[in-house]
Structure formats: structure tokens, C-alpha cells
């Protein structure tokens, strides 16, 4: 990332739940950017603001309890401070949870960087009866302390001033403040410090005190730094002597140095608390305690959880889908100006570029844009769960259950988003796994995402269930989702036991105090995540869509067939001319290119009329506009009537002939399209697989539908429609034509297909997400392939067993 011109770079550190992001928003306002830290999937947010003609850039570091090298977040936060060397670090402290938050502040203080302590959530602290003497606190740590209430923007000016003033201070004496680690450890630390100070170029970047403490803590990264910065064997010698010192220390004191170090830090924190904090209320039951007594109750807890999850599902599917349907006409129109650039003069065929742009690119992009409102609702609810503190409780309740399958309490939400009940989307599901610290459980959760019931599978379920299980629709759909859930759990268990390796994090999960989420905070996060998703997905989708378009379009049906189609078009046109007769006044208006012009006019008129609906005054206005554009065309398009409703007999006759003609053209176009799909590379592939897929009862038509809908499953019903040459899109119609074409299909065919589609491989955008979240093409490839194999084997087994029982 470029920092460009900057005057001050600020690193914003703090523990989880300290209100760090509200402070970040308070400082930077709307000027924010989101990306990942290089090479990892940890979100990096940065933003800037102006102060006294200078630019202050703020980087929001991952929230961490400590600064060890055990977790990715801690390494990132630490490396940022050590390597990017911000002018100043602001550490956000939860004033109502001072003792634990100071523990982190001490470690930052030890790194010898200019520091400002932002004492946040002062309102909560006050409500809980804490009175904090900020001046004494400032003196105890030798850093400026600024009290704030980030949620309400209180303390903004003071914090901004403190940042600049601290940077400008020239009397910064880093080594003046020292944590006292006690009689056993201090002499060792001092000796180590002296040894480290002799390595000058190491000392340019690192504080000797900090490095000495970290070495005694047995910090792997600190050792690496030491070895990396010393080019002779003295580095290794120093490491060896640290090992010896640690061993001797354990022998002498019976405890490892890291225990003593942590204990001394907490002791110091407690001492500072005694010194600077008074409490005028006794420690009585807080609101959080009262809520938890109900929400985490042995019996009520799970019931409330089920209700909340149900509500969550209802809102995203209900409200989200409603919003998506409402937005869709507008998003669809986005493609129109571009599609309008490509108009074919061939009634039968779209131009090659037209088909590429409209079917391939615009079609693919718009299909994804459709889901954006649903994602927005999902992400907003997710933010409410996180900000309120309920998310951690979900993990708490369900951890035991999920752990048995190699998952984690925190897998609940990703699975829910992915559609474990019915109808979700794997992409937000995978994005939600970011909150999981346990890398192994996280990877397992990502890998089972394709087995969830994504929204695009639902129309297909409904289609098949509607044909074969019409009398038990609900039960059949329910069975599908239960089936996929059970398979997902079993697969997770196998994967986590035999396949997935990774950093397992200890399950130490803070249950933060409940907070009322703010509207601004929730919206901001939802928009941010939608945007992140868009940026990541769209470019790749375009590339992939072009590829898929190629495979379902080429090599084409050959000149011979094309000529045959042309001949049928010519004969259709002859019929039209004959029907019109030579004395029809409108025959002239439809000659040559005029016919195409007319058909376009008629299409436009039909669409706009549909859009106007029953609004009579609007309708009258519309007819008049169209009439004034081209009176002859209008009469034909309006079945021979003019805007006043007067009938022209010639026009009426011509209109009837035209309707018939248009119908024939449509049929021919559809037929040709179907043939093209069958003969395309994807089609040939599907047909060549038939001998194998026969085992599960799939014929080549199903194979083509499956292969060609790999890019996006929402095309599955549409592709089936093309193949079975029904009217596009309407599943009732598709159902009928499947029935008509596949007379030998029985329930076991249906079950096999349902099983296969339930375990269908994820769509391309999901695969891209898997790549970016796991950082590995191998896992991406794996996620694309294993559902096909697993789905096929299970489908084949079901099909063969079905054969035995008839």
C-alpha cells in the first residue's frame, strides 16, 4: 500500500470490544479504505483527516488482547508497529475494563514508541460506578490520556490535538518508563539488554528492553528478528544462552518466565487501578449479567437461540429477497445502454459480440448484482449480532455440538449464511469465517460451504420436487436440507481428522458486555463488506463468464445447419408476405430492413406498456408518444387500433400476420439455440460423460445442464429450459416439458438428481472467495472437485438402491 504524502502515520491499537472501530470512525469520518493486510485475510482499514494543514493517516490495527507471536492478528499488529514505524500509536482502552486493557498498553509502552492512551467508553465506566483519575493514570504510564465516548464523538478534538502534540514533543525519553518484572527476572533482563545494545543496527529498529522481555517469553518471532539481524554466529549463541537462562529460571523458581511476566503486568495493572480508580457503587449485578441469566439459561437459551436464528433467516430471506426483487429492474437497466450498442440485423442470430457482451458479461454481472441487497441485509444483521455481543453467546451455546464434527461454536453463523437451513449464499458465509481465530476449524468450515443450500439451488429443488413429489412438497424440501446438513457434518468430521492442518487456537472466547448497536455503525459495516465483496468478485467473474460463454457457444452448429435455418426463415417471411397480400397498405411499410425496425418498435412498446401497468392516464400518454413516433408502426403494434381506439382493418390484418411471423421466428431461434448448446464444447463433454453418469440416472441433457450451469447455478433452471425448449425462466413450463421429454423418469431419478444438486460444486465467485480466504489454489480446486465426486457417488448409490426396490 502507498502512503503517498503523509505528515503523520498513526497506528490504532486496542483490545477486542474496546470500541476501537468507533474511535477509528470518529477520527477519519467517511474517508476510509478497506483491504487486506498483504498476504493474509485480516482486514486492514485505513483513513485520513487533515489537521493544521497536515495530513494524518490512521491505520486500524487488528484488535488483540496481547502482542505475542502466537496469532496472526497479533503478529500483524506488532509487525506494523515495528516495521512500518508509525509516528505514533493510539491505544484504545475500554475504561470499564481497565485492568485487562492496561495489560496491552504496557506492552506497547515497552516498545518505545510515542503513545497516546485513548480512554474510551467513559460513559459505560461511569454508569458502572468507576471514577478514573486520568491525570494520575497519565503520570503512572508517562503517556497522555484522553477520555472519549467514541459512539457519541466525545473527545474527538482532544484526541486529535493529543496526537499532534505528542508527535511534536521533542523531549520524548523512551526508556524512562519501565515495568518492574521483579527480583528473579530483572537481573536477567538487564544483562540481556546490555548484550543486545551492543548490536547497533539491531537497536536502530527495536527496543532492547522489549526484545529482552520477548526473548525471555520464548517468543519465536523475537528469536527470528535476532537471528536475522546478526550475520555471525553470535546471534545463535545469544539464542542458546536465552534457552539456558530460561531453563535455569524454571529450575530456580518453578515457573516459566512468561508466567511471571504476565503476573507482574497484571499486578502493575491492579496497582494502577488502586491508585487511579475509585468506585462508588458496589459490584452488583450488571445488565449483562441479567440478560445472560436468560439468554444463556440451560433451557431457555437454546430456545431463544433457535428463535433468533429463525428470525435472522426470515429477515434475510424475506426482507432481503423483497429488496432484491425491488432493485432488480433497476440493476437490469444498467446493462441496457451497453446492450443497446449491439443490435443485430439478423432476426435469428445475435451478433457474436452482442452475445458475448449481453449473455456473457452483462448477464453474469447482473446475476450477481441481484444478490447485493440480500448481502446488504445479511451483513447488517451480522454487524448487529457482532456489535451487540450476542455473536459470542451463539458460539458459547453451540460449541460443544459443533466441536464433535471438527467445527467450532463460531462456525454457526457462516453455516447459517451459507444456507444450512435452506437458501443462503456461500460467499458471505465464507466471509463470516474471518471472525474465527481457530484456523483449522475455519478452513474446515470454508470447505463444507458448497454443501450448504445456496439460494440458486432452491428453484431447482422446487422444480424437481414439483414434478415428482407434488403431494409432499414441504416434506421433500425439508428432507433435502436435512440430508445436506448431515452430509456437511460428516464431511467436516472426515476433513478435520484427515485432511485439514492448521493453527488451532485455544477456545478462549470473551463474552463482551451487551451494547446497543448504533445505526451508523451497522450501516457502515454492511456497506463496507458489500463493497469489499463487489470489488473482489466482479473483475474475476467477467473473465470467467467469457470463458463459460465460449464453451457453451462454440464451435457452433456448422454451415449446413445454419443454411437450413436461413431457408426456414426465408420461407417464414414468404408466408408473411403472402398473408399480407399485395393490396395491404402496410405491406410497403414492412419491406426490407423496415421489418426489423418494426419488430424493435413493437418490442419497445410492449415493454413500456408492461411497465406502466394499469395506470390509465400514463397509458394514454404512452400510446400518444408512440403514435407520434411512427403512426404506421404504432397501428400494427396496437393490433390495428390507433390511440383513440379506431380500427384500421388493413392494419389489423397485417398485425395478425406479424404476430404469427414473430412466433415462428422465436421458435426457430430457440431451436437453433438448443442445438448450439448440444453441439457446443460443454455439450459434447456432457454427452461423452453419459456412459458414466447413467449409473446415477443422468442422461446427456441433464449433463449439459449441469456442466453449463457451473458458472452460476441460477442458470440451471434456465439452461434446462433451453434444452427442453420451454419458455425461458418459468419453472412451471420447464417442469411440463421435462415431464413430456423424459417419460421414463421415476422417483429414483428425481432423488438422484436432488442429491447431486444438493451437493453441487460451488459457483465461480465462491471458488474465488475460497482462493482469497484460504490463500491457496489447491483448496480452491479441491472445493470445486470433491462435491462433484461425493455428489455423484451418493446419487449413484441412491439410484442403484432405488433400482433394487423398484
Amino acid at each position: 500500500m502507498k502512503h503517498g504524502h503523509r505528515d503523520i502515520l498513526v497506528g490504532l491499537a486496542g483490545q477486542p470490544n474496546s470500541g476501537k472501530s468507533t474511535i477509528f470512525n470518529m477520527l477519519t469520518g467517511a474517508r476510509q479504505h478497506v483491504a487486506n493486510f498483504p498476504g493474509v485475510t485480516v482486514e486492514k482499514k485505513w483513513g485520513d483527516y487533515r489537521y493544521d494543514d497536515g495530513k494524518i493517516e490512521v491505520v486500524d490495527l487488528p484488535g488483540t488482547y496481547s502482542l505475542t507471536s502466537y496469532t496472526q492478528e497479533e503478529r500483524i499488529a506488532r509487525d506494523f508497529i515495528l516495521l512500518e514505524q508509525p509516528e505514533i500509536v493510539v491505544v484504545v482502552i475500554d475504561a470499564s475494563n481497565l485492568e485487562r486493557n492496561l495489560y496491552l498498553a504496557f506492552q506497547l509502552r515497552e516498545m518505545d514508541i510515542p503513545l497516546v492512551l485513548c480512554l474510551n467508553m467513559m460513559d459505560v465506566a461511569r454508569r458502572r460506578g468507576f471514577k478514573i483519575d486520568t491525570q494520575r493514570l497519565s503520570a503512572a504510564l508517562d503517556v497522555p490520556v484522553v477520555p472519549t465516548v467514541g459512539k457519541r464523538g466525545k473527545g474527538r478534538a482532544e484526541l486529535k490535538r493529543a496526537i499532534v502534540e505528542t508527535c511534536e514533543r521533542t523531549d520524548h525519553h523512551p526508556a524512562q518508563w519501565r515495568m518492574d518484572y521483579g527480583g528473579g527476572l530483572e537481573p536477567i533482563l538487564v544483562r540481556l539488554e546490555t548484550q543486545l545494545r551492543s548490536r547497533e543496527h539491531l537497536m536502530e529498529d527495536f527496543s532492547a528492553r522489549w526484545l529482552a522481555v520477548k526473548l525471555m517469553e520464548n517468543d519465536a518471532e523475537a528469536r527470528r528478528i535476532l537471528l536475522h539481524h546478526t550475520h555471525d554466529e553470535t546471534g545463535q549463541q545469544l539464542c542458546d544462552s536465552v534457552d539456558r537462562l530460561r531453563r535455569e529460571f524454571v529450575e530456580e523458581h518453578g515457573k516459566s518466565p512468561e508466567k511471571i511476566i504476565a503476573a507482574r503486568r497484571y499486578r502493575t495493572a491492579a496497582r494502577i487501578m488502586d491508585d487511579c480508580v475509585s468506585r462508588d457503587k458496589a459490584d452488583r449485578r450488571t445488565l449483562t449479567d441479567k440478560i445472560d441469566a436468560v439468554v444463556l439459561h440451560r433451557l431457555a437459551g437454546p430456545i431463544i437461540l433457535a428463535a433468533v436464528l429463525f428470525g435472522f433467516y426470515e429477515i434475510t430471506m424475506g426482507l432481503g429477497t423483497k429488496l432484491a426483487n425491488w432493485c432488480f429492474p433497476y440493476t437490469q437497466r444498467l446493462g441496457e445502454p451497453i446492450a443497446g450498442l449491439f443490435t443485430s440485423s439478423d432476426l435469428l442470430r445475435d451478433g457474436i459480440f452482442q452475445s458475448l457482451v449481453t449473455d456473457g458479461i452483462i448477464g453474469g454481472v447482473i446475476a450477481i448484482l441481484y444478490y447485493l441487497p440480500i448481502f446488504f441485509v445479511l451483513f447488517a444483521l451480522l454487524a448487529i449480532f457482532e456489535d451487540s455481543g450476542y455473536m459470542a453467546r451463539i458460539a458459547f451455546i453451540l460449541d460443544r455440538l459443533l466441536r464433535g464434527f471438527g467445527l467450532h461454536g463460531q462456525s454457526t453463523l457462516p453455516m447459517l449464511l451459507g444456507g444450512v437451513i435452506v437458501g443462503g449464499c456461500a460467499i458471505p458465509g465464507i466471509m463470516a469465517t474471518r471472525a474465527m481465530k481457530d484456523q483449522k476449524a475455519r478452513l474446515t468450515t470454508i470447505l463444507i460451504m458448497p454443501l450448504m443450500n445456496c439460494m440458486a439451488k432452491i428453484p431447482f429443488y422446487i422444480l424437481i420436487v414439483g414434478i415428482f413429489f407434488a403431494s409432499h412438497k414441504g416434506l421433500a424440501l425439508y428432507s433435502v436440507s436435512v440430508f445436506s446438513f448431515i452430509v456437511a457434518l460428516l464431511v467436516a468430521k472426515v476433513f478435520s481428522r484427515h485432511l485439514v492442518r492448521g493453527e488451532t487456537a485455544p477456545f478462549v472466547l470473551e463474552l463482551p458486555a451487551y451494547h446497543l448497536p448504533t445505526v451508523g455503525g451497522v450501516l457502515r459495516r454492511a456497506i463496507e463488506r458489500v463493497w469489499l465483496f463487489l470489488r473482489k468478485i466482479l473483475t474475476v467473474v467477467v473473465a470467467v463468464m467469457i470463458l463459460v460463454w465460449f464453451f457453451v457457444t462454440f464451435p457452433g452448429i456448422g454451415t449446413k445447419r445454419e443454411v437450413q435455418y436461413d431457408l426456414r426463415m426465408v420461407s417464414a417471411r414468404d408466408t408473411l408476405v403472402k398473408k399480407l397480400g399485395t393490396d395491404n397498405r402496410y405491406a410497403g411499410a414492412l419491406q426490407g430492413n423496415n421489418l426489423i425496425e418494426y419488430l424493435r418498435f413493437q418490442q419497445r412498446y410492449k415493454e413500456e406498456k408492461l411497465a406502466v401497468g394499469d395506470n390509465n392516464s400514463e397509458l394514454r400518454r404512452l400510446t400518444r408518444t408512440f403514435e407520434s413516433q411512427n403512426r404506421e408502426f404504432f397501428l400494427l403494434a396496437n393490433r390495428g387500433r390507433d390511440a383513440e381506439g379506431k380500427i384500421d382493418r388493413d392494419a389489423g390484418k397485417a398485425a395478425r400476420a406479424l404476430r404469427k411471423f414473430a412466433g415462428t421466428v422465436k421458435k426457430l431461434k430457440f431451436k437453433r439455440r438448443k442445438e448450439m448448446v448440444r453441439d457446443s464444447y460443454a455439450g459434447r463433454f456432457g454427452r461423452s460423460l453419459e456412459p458414466v453418469t447413467q449409473l446415477a440416472g443422468f442422461n446427456w441433457r441433464m449433463n449439459i445442464a449441469i456442466t453449463s450451469s457451473f458458472a452460476a447455478k441460477e442458470n440451471l433452471v434456465g439452461t434446462l429450459g433451453t434444452i427442453y425448449s420451454a419458455e425461458e425462466g418459468r419453472s412451471g413450463e420447464v417442469g411440463k416439458s421435462i415431464r413430456a421429454a423424459e417419460t421414463d423418469w421415476t422417483k429414483r431419478h428425481a432423488v438422484a438428481i436432488l442429491i447431486f444438486v444438493a451437493l453441487f460444486p460451488p459457483c465461480i465467485p465462491t471458488l474465488i472467495m475460497v482462493k482469497s480466504e484460504t490463500g491457496s489454489y489447491r483448496w480452491m480446486f479441491f472445493t470445486a472437485v470433491y462435491p462433484i465426486i461425493l455428489g455423484f457417488i451418493l446419487a449413484a448409490i441412491a439410484f442403484q438402491i432405488g433400482a433394487i426396490f423398484g
Binding site: 495489560y103 497484571y266 460449541d399 485455544p506 470473551e510
Partner: protein
């Protein structure tokens, strides 16, 4: 006695951690150092994990980890 044996509602004092690496460091960071008073607030509905109050905040840990935390009553 280890923390997983403490019944819900009881308060105890941390004596030592018998854990290693990341697990131990994380618990140290969260305040499980010797002499700290901790209270077992409740068990999860399926008895695991357990909800602990420590230094004024709540944290959930699995029984497996709680087994490594030596405590005493008084």
C-alpha cells in the same frame, strides 16, 4: 483442584497453569495469573464450555482448557 471441577456459582483463586504454548499464553494474557480470583458463572447448555468471570469481565473456555488451570478455594 482444577477449574473444570468447580461448580457453577463458586469463586476460586488461580494457583498455576499446566498448559503450554499458545494455550497457556492466551490464558495468561486474559488474566489467569496466580492469585487471581475467578468465578464460574455457569455452564453452557451442553455443559461445555464454561462461562468464567475474571477481573470484571466474562470469558468462555472449554473444559479441556479449564482442566489445565489449577485453583484453590478459600
Amino acid at each position: 483442584m482444577t477449574l473444570d471441577e468447580v461448580p457453577a456459582g463458586q469463586e476460586v483463586t488461580v494457583v498455576d497453569l499446566h498448559l503450554e504454548g499458545a494455550e497457556m499464553q492466551r490464558l495468561l494474557d486474559m488474566g489467569f495469573v496466580d492469585g487471581t480470583r475467578v468465578k464460574v458463572v455457569r455452564n453452557a447448555p451442553l455443559k461445555d464450555p464454561i462461562d468464567i468471570k475474571i477481573k470484571g469481565y466474562l470469558v468462555a473456555i472449554r473444559r479441556n482448557e479449564a482442566k489445565g488451570i489449577e485453583v484453590k478455594t478459600e
